[in-house]
Every structure is written in C-alpha cells, then in structure tokens.
C-alpha cells in the first residue's frame, strides 16, 4: 500500500513538473576544479551577458561523449552566431582526473572543462542521469534543461540558444 501511495504522489508530481517552467533559477555556488587542479567556484561561470550551456558528462558515458563530439563539430558556427560558451562538467571520480585532459584535447574540444569529482555540483543542480544539459541566459538564469542525447538533439539545443541570445521567450519549450 505504501508503495502504491508513493507511486501515486510521484505521478501527480510528475504532472506538475511537466507543466512547470524553470524561470528564475540561478547557479548554486559550489567548489569544483579546473583541469589543472585549481579550485573554481561555479558562481564564476560567466560569458559576459551571452548565453551559456552547462553540460554534465563523464568518461564512461557514451551518449555524453557523442553529444559533446557532435556539438564540437558545429561549435565554431554556434559561437559565431550566438556567442554561446559551453561548460563541460566531468563527474568522473579522482582516478580519472588525469585522463579528462587527454580526452578533451584528444577529441579537440574547445569547451571550458571543469571537474566535479565528488558530485557536489551535480547534486546541487539535481542531476540524476547524464547527459544533462542546461541553458543559461545572459543574466545566468537557468532557462532550459534537458536530459539524454540522441542524434539531432543538438538542433533543439541551438534553437533554444539562438532564442535566448535574441532575448525571445522560450517558455513554450
């Protein structure tokens, strides 16, 4: 019976979530590391009033690497069009710290890469599954987020970023 009631509460709640918009939320302040081992406060994620993409990934997550590789192919165009900056947050644990750099460089990614070794940023952002991607507007409000990746999903992402860059309303998404 307990089980049924929990399922019931969650299903009701899912309905609320589907209907809700994500306006007005900002990034939490959490300490993460850069690839070179320096401390970095997530409040310092910034792009001079232009849109920001924050994407959570890990070395073992194939869809994540697919997503970031797909975006890497068009990243230059995106930056030219919208001025967007992508922060790739690796949630790999300590053993992989030294491997993130080689993968990022090996793949030729131009992103800002941060290491969230103990998942503090992940938890503060309520990330359950990766890939999980956030779009922030010029005032660093979280305006859109999405989990999972499939070929073509990057098209939706750039559509959102373009609208944000132009100051359009995206509440329909």
């Amino acid at each position: 019976m307990k089980r049924l009631s929990i399922v019931l509460a969650l299903i009701l709640f899912t309905g609320v979530l589907f209907a809700q918009d994500h306006s007005g939320k900002t990034l939490p302040e959490v300490a993460v590391k850069t690839i070179t081992g320096e401390s970095f406060n997530t409040a310092d994620i910034d792009n001079d009033g232009k849109p920001i993409i924050v994407s959570f990934w890990a070395l073992w997550c194939h869809p994540c690497i697919k997503e970031l590789t797909t975006i890497a192919d068009v990243y230059e165009d995106w930056q030219e069009e919208t001025g967007v900056k992508l922060y790739a947050i690796s949630i790999d644990d300590a053993r992989s710290t030294a491997k993130v750099g080689p993968l990022v460089n090996g793949k030729g990614w131009e992103y800002e890469v941060l290491l969230d070794q103990n998942g503090d940023f992940k938890r503060a952002m309520n990330v359950n599954m990766i890939p999980h991607t956030f779009v922030l507007d010029g005032d660093k409000n979280i305006v859109w987020q999405h989990t999972s990746f499939a070929e073509g999903a990057e098209l939706d992402l750039i559509e959102i970023v373009e609208k944000v860059a132009n100051g359009e309303d995206i509440s329909g998404h």
């Binding site: 929990i6 194939h62 460089n105 793949k107 070794q117 359950n128 999972s148 070929e151």
Partner: protein, 575 residues
C-alpha cells in the same frame, strides 16, 4: 491504508507548495527551490528457462526503489532533504535497504570565508584515499556523514576542511557503540595564489594533506582492538601547460577489521597519475599500489557499507553491455596496478582521417597482487590476531588479478553515418575478484560495432552488434541492439543477447587439484524491448524482457545484478 493515502497526499501537497514557491516571481526574496526524484520499479515474472521460480520471487513480484531530493536556497543559506523508499528493494540491492523515510536533511551557510554544514553531507579529501563520502544511486551506495562540516578559506588559495560525524548505515540510526565516529581535517594549498611570485607562472602547484581518525569502542571479548584508528595522507598536483601530474600517499595505523581478517599491520597506499596532451593527442599513465587499506567506520562490517575511504580501480569503465561483462573491483587488501591511455585524433582531410577526422583510443591496464611473505614459519599469511604478513613498499606479487588491452575508434563517415568500433582483450581473475574459489581465470575477447544513421534532421537509427568470446565462465555471447530515436523526445529499442556458450554448450576446466569440472549451459536468449520518452528533464523509460546476470560497477564499487524477467519502469525528473 487510509493512513498511507493521507500521507502520500501530504507529501504531494508539500512538494506542490514548494514548486509553487519556486515559481514565485522574486527568488531574491523567497529563495529558490529545486529538486529531483527517480523511481525504478520492476515487476518480476517466473521464468523456468532462467530458473526463476515462484519460490525465488517469494510473493514479492513487484519491487521499487525511489528517491526525492529537495533543495532550498536563499542567498548564502541553503537546506535540503532527501527521501528514499525501497518497497522492497529491487533484486540485487542490499535487502537491508528495505524501508522508507527521510534519509538526509541538512542546512548550510556559506560566505566567501566560511562554509558550515550541519546534518548530512558528502565530502572528499584529495583523491579520496583516506576519506570520501559519496552516493551512487544505481548501486544503493550511500556513505554520507551525519554531523557537521566546516570549510574555511582564510586566504586566497587556501582551503581548510574539518568534518565530524557518523556514517549512514542503511536505516539504522546511530546509537552509542553501534558503529564508529569519524572525524578529520584537510588542508589544501594552491601555491600560485599563496606566493605572489608564482601567480603568473605557467607551472601550477597544489599541495595538500589530510587526517582522519575513527573512534569505535572495543567490545570484542577475544581481541584487544584499537579504539582510535588514524589515517593520514599527503599529496601534490603539478601542471605545466599540457602536462599534469598528481600523486597521493596514504598511511593507516593498525586497524584489525573484518576486511583484513583482524590483522594488526599498518596499511599504506600510493596513487600517482600523469598525463600529457596537446591538440589532437593525449597520453595518460597512472599507477597505484595499496596494502591493507580497507577502512570502515565499523570494523566488523563487510560489503560496501560504511567505507570511509575510496580506492578506485585502475581500469577502464566500459559502457557497452558485453564489454562490461567482466569489470574489475579494487582489492583493498593489496594490489599493484598500472594503466595507460592514449587518445589520438587523426586530422581532418588526411588520408586516414577523411573529411571529418578519426578518433583512436588505446587503453591498457594491468593489475596484480602485492608480494606478501609470512611473518615466521608458524604463522600463515593473513592469520587473525597477528601482524598478518610482511611486504615491501611497492612490491609486486605473482598473481595477475586483471588485465585489459583495448582499442576504440570513432569515425564520422559522412553526413549520415557515424561509426564506433572497439575491441578488448580481458583477463579476469574470477577467484579473487568475485571470491569464487577454484574458478579459473577468464580470458575474454570482446568486439563492438556501433553504427548511427541519421536519415532525417531529428530521426536516427543506431545499430549495435557485439560479441564476447571466451572458453571459461558461461562461454560465448553475441548481442545486438537496434534503436530508433526521434530527438529529443522518443526512443524505441529492441535488443537480444544470446549466450550461445560454444558448439556443444559445455564448459570444461581442470582446477589446481587436477579435478575436472564440467558444466553444461543451456543456450539462452535474453530479448528485451524498450521505449523512452523525454521532455525537458523528465524521462520515462519502459522495458520488458530478460535481464542477464551480471555485475554493475560504478567507480570500483560493484553490485551483482541477478537474472530476471519482467516489466521495468524508470521515471526520473528534476526541477
């Protein structure tokens, strides 16, 4: 029954009120609420071919794991709660998880200089060799600390942490002497910020040191046990351009416990990892040596619960199903490991790279025992109530625990096709890793091809074909998955894993004593269909079919997944 419905409506009302508050127009005044939840449920069916009988299911044909997190934030203040329910836990999770209730509640105040948390928190010192409290939902792993944490940043580049508390042990509340108390401190110095002369240097150096002490009363009638066990570590991180080097040494004083079988030897460990990368090329090399480093806040507990420290394996985490058939789990009582990875991007428009270039990753890991010698003629290695054994720092033993040599190539063929090919040769010491005495080492070869075909802007197909070849364990496997994606909303997949063993279905081996073991396996298919729907951060995943027996590992902590047949649903969301 009425009570539960009322309770669930209550929970819902609170959640609803919170989200409404979250939607309020002025977050500066009322704060922000965010949260997430996940529900995994499975309906278990009998399956005579898999050997699952009504008795195995034992009336618990429906099982569920669920959690919900809510975080409230206003300026420098934040607070949160975490609710979990396992009614009962999914097959393969620790049965002690059964129950429901609020597992975590915490409040935190943080300014630039001081950051104080009371209640439950997660934390890590250095690479985690002496202390790491974290949580991994897919394993049912949570060793959060309930107590207090203070983080000070007295000057730029310096971080001081102090922690004090007890660790989570399923649903058991802390009571006097039912488990240990953990306390500790850590200092981290980023030298470039501390010494102004180094500020503009391209060479970046971080030094750190940590200390953890565990208190647990000695109530044992047989052994004289240390009530305070201390562990410390020192570390550095050095980087210069594309070069990065990280090293940590850890030491633990006498800590007889259930993992090391009550030996009184000190433990020590060294982890060092180095990498170099430039555009299109990356190289990483890491080495680890550990001896008697199992450290828990209750010396009598085995299994995954109550670990104070974290010793990740030096092996690649595979994500394709068959490649992940034989994952390595760290042997905390002693292992010596090395791992090397090379990433190379064949440039665009080269002969091999073609129009889009091509990525190559080579990976090698090798893990073996450390060299242990008996203390004297009358004491066997690891005998309880003695120093256990002798070993030289960085000694290497004869037994190979694990080896993986692999290559992975990814290539975009044209606008429509993308291909990933991988191959791995794995050696897996089943007797040591799974504790199945007398089982032979598994030598497996696995190859995978993963082809994506985008036929319309947002429509794509993905076809995965893989094969695992081995003469041991359950023999050969072949697996295939076909997936249709309509980005970013829908996905459908159909897959089958076929354990065709070998021609006659018999696995035969001779053990050390010369006894011949012969096991006949039934050749079995494990078909599954699945569908998923994603909108924003809400994802619903349904699947139906058979699940093969396996081991799921995340960060070196593993959980056995039993074979099952049935209907499965996962709902996850965050806001």
């Amino acid at each position: 029954m009425k009570k539960y419905i009322l309770k669930s409506i209550g929970v819902f009302a609170i959640l609803f009120a919170f989200t409404q508050m979250a939607n309020a127009q002025s977050p500066q005044k009322y704060g922000q609420v965010s949260g997430s939840f996940q529900l995994d449920a499975q309906l278990y069916q009998e399956d005579s071919e898999l050997g699952i009988t009504a008795e195995d299911i034992n009336g618990q044909d429906m099982r569920m794991n669920a959690f919900g997190n809510i975080i409230y934030r206003l300026g420098n203040f934040s607070a949160g709660v975490r609710y979990e329910a396992y009614l009962p836990p999914l097959a393969g999770f620790d049965t002690r998880l059964e129950g429901q209730g609020f597992v975590n509640r915490w409040a935190r105040y943080s300014t630039g200089i001081i950051d104080v948390t009371v209640g439950n928190f997660y934390e890590q010192f250095g690479s985690g060799m002496i202390f790491r409290a974290y949580e991994e939902w897919s394993l049912g792993y949570d060793n959060s600390v309930d107590g207090a944490r203070v983080i000070l940043t007295p000057m730029k580049g310096m971080t001081i942490k102090g922690i004090y508390g007890t660790q989570r042990f399923f649903w058991q509340k802390y009571e006097k002497n039912n488990r240990g108390i953990v306390r500790g401190g850590d200092l981290d110095l980023f030298m470039n910020d501390i010494f102004s002369g180094l500020e503009s240097s391209k060479t970046k150096l971080t030094l750190g040191a940590g200390l953890i002490s565990k208190y647990q009363a000695d109530l044992d009638p047989i052994y004289k046990l240390p009530e305070n066990v201390m562990s410390w570590s020192g570390r550095f991180n050095l980087s210069h351009g594309g070069f990065f080097w990280q090293t940590e040494y850890a030491h633990k004083i006498n800590d007889p416990n259930a993992i090391n079988d009550y030996i009184y030897k000190d433990g020590q460990g060294l982890f060092s990892s180095m990498s170099y990368s430039q555009k299109g090329l990356g190289f990483a090399l890491s080495a680890k040596w550990i001896d008697n480093m199992g450290f828990k806040s209750d010396r009598a507990v085995t299994g995954d619960a109550l670990f104070i420290n974290f010793l990740p394996p030096n092996a690649k985490t595979h994500s394709y199903s068959l490649s992940a058939m034989y994952p390595y789990a760290t042997q905390v009582n002693g292992e010596a490991a090395i791992q090397a990875t090379i990433n190379y991007r064949v440039p665009k428009k080269s002969k091999l790279g073609g129009k889009y270039g091509m990525g190559i990753e080579l990976n090698f890991s090798h893990i073996r025992a450390i060299d242990k010698t008996p203390l004297n003629d009358s004491t066997s290695i690891g005998q309880s109530g003695t120093l256990g054994y002798e070993t030289k720092f960085l000694s290497i033993g004869d037994d190979v625990y694990f080896q993986d040599l692999g290559i992975e190539i990814d290539k975009k063929i044209n606008k429509h096709f993308k291909l990933i090919v991988s191959a791995d040769m794995i050696k897996y010491n089943m007797a040591i890793i799974e504790g199945h005495l007398g089982e032979p080492d598994v030598d497996a070869f696995v190859w995978v091809t993963d082809l994506s075909y985008r036929f319309k802007r947002k429509h794509s197909l993905r076809w995965e074909l893989s094969q695992l070849l081995t003469k041991q364990d359950q023999g050969n496997w072949i697996a295939s998955t076909l997936e249709y994606n309509f980005a970013p909303t829908w996905f459908f997949a159909i897959s089958d894993q076929y354990n065709y063993v070998n021609k006659d279905g018999v696995i035969k081996y001779t053990n050390e004593n010369g006894e011949v073991h012969e096991t006949e396996f039934e050749k079995l298919h494990y078909p599954t269909i699945a569908a998923g729907y994603t909108k924003g951060t809400t994802r619903v995943l349904l699947s139906y079919g058979r699940q093969r027996e396996g081991i799921l590992c995340v960060g070196g902590v593993c959980r056995a997944v039993p074979k099952s047949n049935g209907f499965k649903i996962t709902i996850t969301s965050s806001f």
